[in-house]
């Protein structure tokens, strides 16, 4: 829960950071590193990559803090930088890997096709397998849908925060979320959790 005094303290930190005080930057890093790491991790998928992306995002914060208008919340401004850094990283990675994604492997080591048909019988999966399939399908969602879904359902941001982070309207966020959930629901309709 963010109190009014926390907000004031953060404002003071930002003023000090704008004056070029490195100590203020260190405090902000300490305050936002865990939340930032969680978002990066969910978006890029590995702790090592998340660490690199998070560092790049903090450097961008330091260099661009003068462009931050204090009428908006620092958190959403930071999340926007973070999301952009993560998406840039994924784009570069996608170019490098030429859209390669490995085959799905079930517990018996057999390859699975990504099912997308209502006619197939429902397969009962363990929670772990279901989660792995879900991750792969989330990864394949269109960029905006993926970001909205991850920020909302894995990082617990409100629709309003997501709208501010992505610089779009609340309605657009709702549409992206609806489409993401519908797509995932369809793709995973042949699976059921044990």
């Amino acid at each position: 829960m963010v109190t009014e005094s926390d907000k004031q303290e953060e404002k003071m930190l930002i003023v000090r950071l704008k004056q070029g005080q490195r100590s203020a930057f260190d405090v902000l890093v300490q305050q936002y590193r865990q939340r930032g790491f969680a978002i990066c991790y969910n978006l890029v998928g590995s702790p090592e990559d998340a660490q690199d992306v998070l560092q790049d995002a903090f450097i961008k914060v330091y260099r661009n803090i003068k462009n931050f208008r204090e009428d908006a919340a620092f958190s959403t401004w930071f999340y926007r930088i973070l999301t952009n850094c993560s998406l840039d990283f994924l784009r570069k990675k996608k170019v490098l890997s030429k859209h390669f994604t490995g085959p799905l492997i079930d517990e018996e080591g057999k390859e699975q096709d990504i099912a997308d048909s209502h006619s197939e019988p429902v397969r009962i999966l363990s929670a772990q397998e279901f989660a792995r399939n879900l991750d792969l399908h989330i990864e394949q969602l269109p960029e905006k849908q993926k970001v909205c879904f991850i920020l909302k359902h894995q990082n617990r941001l409100s629709n309003q925060e997501i709208a501010q982070t992505l610089g779009c309207s609340l309605g657009t966020v709702k549409v992206h979320l609806f489409r993401a959930v519908r797509a995932l629901q369809r793709k995973l309709s042949v699976y059921s959790v044990q």
Binding site: V29, Q34, Q55, I138, F149, Q154, L188
Partner: protein, 161 residues
Amino acid sequence: MIRCLFIKRKLYDYFDNSLSEIEQSKIKEHLDSCAGCRNNLKKIHEVIDTAGSKNIPHPTEEFWNKFQGELDDKLNDVLTPAYKPGFRERFSIKSVVLVPSVSVLVLVMAVSIQSNHRNSTDRFHQAMLDEMNVLEEVSPATTFNNGIEFSLDEAVLASEM
């Protein structure tokens, strides 16, 4: 059936609790009587609950110390402008290199001049010696010539007398 299609579009909002109270209660009413829609709602729950329960690593303090160190290094690299030497710096020779090179050059020149001088002196001496040898070799002719000159001188003296 039409009602199910309508409900299906609203199920995510129902799950998200972002509908009005009236809509929320109408959908709940429908769900109580429709197994298909209940199943759809169950699927949404499965997807979102699974996504929400994803394990996010909580890095240790050691990780964050390393993170901070690397971040400081990266930030210092970014903040310190890359050194670009100016025209004069790029084309100037450092004194460390310049002084020994000039000294060596002067030494080489001195040795070279000395050696040239010695050679020319030797050559001069050699030339002198050669000339003397030549003179020694041709001395009879000279004597002869001298003899003629002498005789001419004598003739001149004789005629003056």
